[in-house]
């Protein structure tokens, strides 16, 4: 885009500038400044400076500002370190008057992936429960906006692995998938060329299924013990999961919330006369046991 002097704001100029931006293939032409329309991040280049005498050169980028004296009529080298961040850069050369031009620095080749795998724990056999999102960055951590194919490779704890390829849009690629029926670690690796980023997700048992307990009476004490607590796919609920036992007898209601240990939950009650005992895990109800007849 061309800028020739201060205060040049007219609509005509703006439209001309925009038109030039569209039609010029690779070089933008200012009165004295010729800069590339775009360069790759970290790529050195030079700007020919027309005219004679001394001038002040300014380069203003997203994270970088350069100001130095230059001799007109020579090539002005722009170091690779001056253009590492993607975005619009502005070049201004001031001699007797100021001239400016702009160019765009685009991200270099992909070099980093910011990879989000969500959630980190997921119940088994849940449709659409796993989301993977990858943001592609170059080696200077510029978002790579050029479409690229990210390969999501899924490796479950048991069973065969599989992969899905997704093209990035505005530097991001994402996919969604179901959790598998078996608990355990699932590794998901996002791959783009030589760049790999792995994340792990834990598939855990779902809600308890067919919760059952048995009672063993000894005097006025009753010991209640669940069968191994599993979900509907047969995965054992992790130790520490709370199981609630409720006993109702003449003395009133008694409840104990106890965690599962080694796959089963166990509790002891004292009973006076007939009693009814029930078990639950979360919102899942188990069987009921009646002791000594009806209440």
């Amino acid at each position: 885009m061309m800028r020739t002097s201060r205060g040049d704001f007219t609509l005509c100029k703006r439209l001309t500038g925009l038109a030039l931006l569209c039609v010029l293939p690779s070089w933008a032409r200012a009165a004295e400044l010729q800069v590339p329309a775009s360069v790759e991040a970290g790529q050195a280049f030079s700007i020919p400076l027309e005219g004679s005498g001394q001038a002040t050169f300014y380069l203003l980028g997203p994270d970088h500002v350069v100001k130095r004296s230059v001799s007109l009529g020579s090539e002005l080298p722009i170091q690779s370190g001056d253009v590492r961040t993607a975005g619009r850069y502005q070049v201004i050369v001031c001699g007797s008057s100021c001239t400016s031009a702009g160019f765009e620095v685009k991200a270099a080749q992909p070099a980093h992936l910011s990879f989000f795998l969500h959630p980190s724990r997921v119940p088994v056999s849940t449709p659409g429960s796993i989301d993977a999102t990858a943001f592609v960055f170059d080696r200077y951590f510029n978002l790579v906006l050029t479409p690229a194919a990210v390969d999501f490779q899924i490796t479950p704890a048991s069973g065969a692995g599989f992969s899905r390829q997704v093209s990035t849009r505005h530097g991001a690629a994402w996919m969604r998938m179901d959790s598998t029926p078996h608990e355990g670690r699932v590794q998901v690796t996002a791959v783009l060329g030589n760049v790999e980023e792995a994340r792990v997700i834990q598939q855990v048992a779902a809600e308890a299924c067919a919760l059952r307990m048995k009672a063993v009476t000894s005097g006025d004490m009753v010991t209640l013990e669940t069968e191994p607590v599993r979900d509907c796919s047969g995965n054992a609920l992790p130790d520490g999961t709370v199981v609630s036992f409720t006993k109702i007898d003449k003395a009133g209601k008694s409840t104990v919330d106890t965690p599962i240990k080694k796959g089963i939950a166990r509790v002891q009650f004292s009973v006076r006369g007939p009693a009814q005992i029930s078990v639950a895990c979360g919102v899942v109800l188990g069987n009921e046991v009646a002791l000594g007849g009806k209440l």
């Binding site: 997203p62 959630p119 989301d131």
Partner: protein, 185 residues
């Protein structure tokens, strides 16, 4: 992570129509925010058709407000040469780069004045877990560059930015802000 469970007395299911309505409301709210705070630039957020997750009304309003605050802080920092306030709205690469830019700008004795005529934000990606959102910002900016008191250059053209925003404890931060070639509005 914050697990937002929105239960209303009358239960509502999110439907595409609701998303559209929400988008309109967000836009209206954003406009109202911009108009009620004269110092803030106008920000209009369009979240229609956002994938893979729709944006909640409250989230949209918050993003619009904090994006407006971010531009206000950015303009103020570039003009004053003080990077102190940037941490309120910027984080990560965006903050690091701006802090560096302002430091070098100060060394060179250069400062920039931005006259902000408003931003039209288009939400283009919102991750399912709600941890990141990408926005396309078409901004109307007048950028004046000074060396000391000498005006070096004025740009008055549309600007387009790819913005990555991520949630913090009570706000959305600008994590990445890259200007790309502007297309005519």
């Amino acid at each position: 992570m914050k697990n937002m469970a929105e239960l209303t007395l009358a239960v509502k299911n999110i439907s595409p129509r609701f998303v559209k309505a929400a988008t309109l409301v967000i836009a209206a709210c954003a406009l109202a925010i911009a108009q009620s705070s004269p110092e803030l630039p106008q920000v209009h957020l369009d979240a229609a058709g956002l994938a893979p997750r729709p944006v909640e009304e409250l989230t949209g309003t918050t993003i619009a407000r904090h994006y407006a605050l971010a531009w206000r802080d950015l303009a103020s920092a570039l003009e004053s040469g003080r990077a102190g306030g940037l941490g309120d709205e910027f984080v990560g690469f965006a903050k690091d780069r701006l802090v560096q830019r302002i430091g070098e700008q100060n060394q060179a004795g250069v400062h920039v004045r931005i006259v902000d005529h408003g931003h039209h934000l288009k939400a283009i990606f919102y991750s399912t877990d709600g941890s990141a959102m990408q926005l396309l910002d078409q901004a109307e900016l007048e950028i004046q560059t000074f060396d000391g008191n000498k005006l070096l250059d004025t740009q008055n053209a549309p600007h387009e930015y790819i913005v990555l925003v991520t949630p913090g404890a009570d706000r959305w931060y600008v994590r990445d802000l890259e200007e790309v070639s502007a297309k005519p509005f």
